[in-house]
């Protein structure tokens, strides 16, 4: 009998043996698949988000200059712009006016932002798709705001950001500088922070040091730091991912440990009979190995398949609740499918291999005992 035919016979025997205990094995498979699904979903989703952040935020401001006062962020006087422009290597300094608006009817925080060359004029707004979904009190095309001094302001909705850009615009309300100042009370001559463009981004650290020296009450945030923050946030070793993965891995190890601690009476008796019939210990280990492979490989395929569909085709609805927290606004977005071979190999080695080998330990213990003792359950 060829090696291949021999292995297929072992597989036939293993499958028949497993079908005799089908409900136990089906429930085992379901739990296993669920764990592979959860771990794979977390890995796919966070990797997808990290890829999105790395790609999209490549065009974020090269350097942001914030002013701090008594340890808190404060408004920046526009006079700082001139001082920063005198630093060699600085090409442009653009004051940014942005902040948050809490809308009591929606019980949501929105990001409000103004633009130098806002094209739609005073008294109008351009909003993200998430704002329209959650605002709640839109009358016709008017959005009702309450200004910093309690005055009611109606702003006309002139445009909505397209739905596919929700990952950056979902909660955004864009308006002119005049409207922004009327709404928030930020006086003329001040901005929220400054966006600095440099001639050569390789000099960014030197320029940041010069800014901190010439304006000691400021702090700088470089684009590289923005990108690194997102890389760390969605890295599997920290932040969001680790919170979800730790639970899933613990569940997996408890499950695998439980399986490794022993065989039930029926399984022990089956091994004893096989030994009595003349099977070698290596043959018994081989069918147990195949049993581990059948369960873990099936769970791996089904779990990874379900995780891919959940993450990349249905936008990971199971994670929406975790990301949303107490917020009412959550962007509708679809992550670009990006899975690399390293991720798949890691998932495979973490889920399939340990279980397949762990199944051998109790079988080896029983198979190396006297068949008579095993059959008599001594």
């Amino acid at each position: 009998m060829s090696w291949m035919e021999r292995q297929r016979s072992f597989l036939d025997f293993t499958l028949s043996s497993m079908l005799r205990r089908k409900w136990k094995n089906i429930s085992l498979l379901l739990v296993y698949t669920l764990m592979v699904f959860l771990i794979s979903s977390v890995v796919f989703f966070t990797n997808g988000l990290r890829h999105e952040a790395e790609t999209i935020l490549q065009d974020a401001p090269e350097m942001i200059v914030q002013r701090t006062m008594a340890g808190r962020q404060a408004l920046v006087p526009l006079g700082y712009t001139k001082k920063i422009k005198t630093i060699r290597g600085v090409r442009r300094v653009k004051p940014r006016l942005w902040g948050y608006y809490y809308h009591p009817a929606a019980q949501a925080n929105f990001t409000i932002m103004s633009l130098d060359d806002y094209p739609h004029g005073e008294g109008t707004v351009e909003v993200g798709a998430g704002v329209l979904r959650t605002w709640g009190t839109i009358q016709g095309n008017d959005l009702y705001f309450r200004a910093f001094d309690g005055e009611a302001i109606d702003l006309r909705l002139v445009k909505t950001f397209t739905s596919p850009s929700e990952l950056v615009t979902s909660d955004l309300i864009l308006m002119s500088k005049g409207t922004f100042r009327r709404l928030t009370g930020i006086p003329e001559g001040f901005a929220t922070d400054l966006a600095v463009t440099m001639r050569n981004t390789r000099e960014s650290i030197t320029i940041a040091e010069k800014v901190s020296l010439s304006l000691p009450d400021t702090r700088t945030i470089l684009r590289e730091e923005i990108l690194r923050t997102y890389a760390a946030l969605f890295d599997w070793r920290g932040g969001y991912t680790i919170v979800l993965l730790v639970g899933a891995f613990l569940a997996f190890f408890i499950f695998a440990w439980d399986k490794a601690t022993g065989l039930n009476a029926e399984e022990r008796s089956e091994i004893g009979i096989l030994k009595g019939l003349g099977w070698d210990t290596s043959d018994i280990l081989m069918i147990k190995f195949w049993e581990g492979i059948v369960v873990s490989l099936t769970a791996f395929f089904l779990g990874v398949l379900a995780a891919y569909i959940h993450t990349f085709l249905f936008s990971a609805p199971f994670f929406e609740h975790a990301l949303k927290g107490w917020a009412v606004l959550y962007p509708a977005f679809q992550v670009q499918p990006s899975v690399d071979a390293y991720q798949l190999a890691t998932l495979f080695s973490l889920t399939v291999l340990p279980y397949s080998f762990i199944c051998l330990v109790p079988a080896w213990k029983v198979a190396s005992s006297d068949p008579d003792m095993v059959m008599r359950q001594v």
């Binding site: 914030q66 925080n109 633009l115 990952l167 650290i205 945030i221 398949l305 990301l323 927290g325």
Partner: protein, 100 residues
């Protein structure tokens, strides 16, 4: 048909579907995603956006890269954190290593 044949067939079909999803599906949807990303990059550049709109419940989770060291104490001196997403995200990277 032998049980092993059925099982191997089942695994092969799964493998083919996975191979399509990993290799074929990204190519099929590439244009849609590239268009979206190009549009998002344009907006990020034009508006000076610094963060993704993922956690909207608090200002320091909405813009994690722009927060200050004291944002977790914003409500009162003992208020470490009370928003769920605050437990899911780590502090800005610049606080973890010395920099300008």
């Amino acid at each position: 048909m032998r049980k092993s044949t059925l099982y191997l067939l089942f695994i092969t079909v799964n493998g083919v579907i996975l191979a399509f999803l990993f290799l074929g599906y990204p190519i099929l949807t590439e244009e849609t995603h590239n268009n979206r990303i190009t549009e998002e990059k344009k907006l990020v550049h034009a508006l000076g956006i610094t963060d993704l709109c993922l956690f909207t419940e608090a200002r320091y989770t909405r813009h994690p890269t722009q927060t200050d060291l004291h944002s977790a104490f914003q409500d009162h001196p003992l208020a470490l954190e009370h928003f769920p997403s605050g437990s899911l995200i780590s502090p800005p990277h610049r606080y973890k290593e010395p920099g300008p």
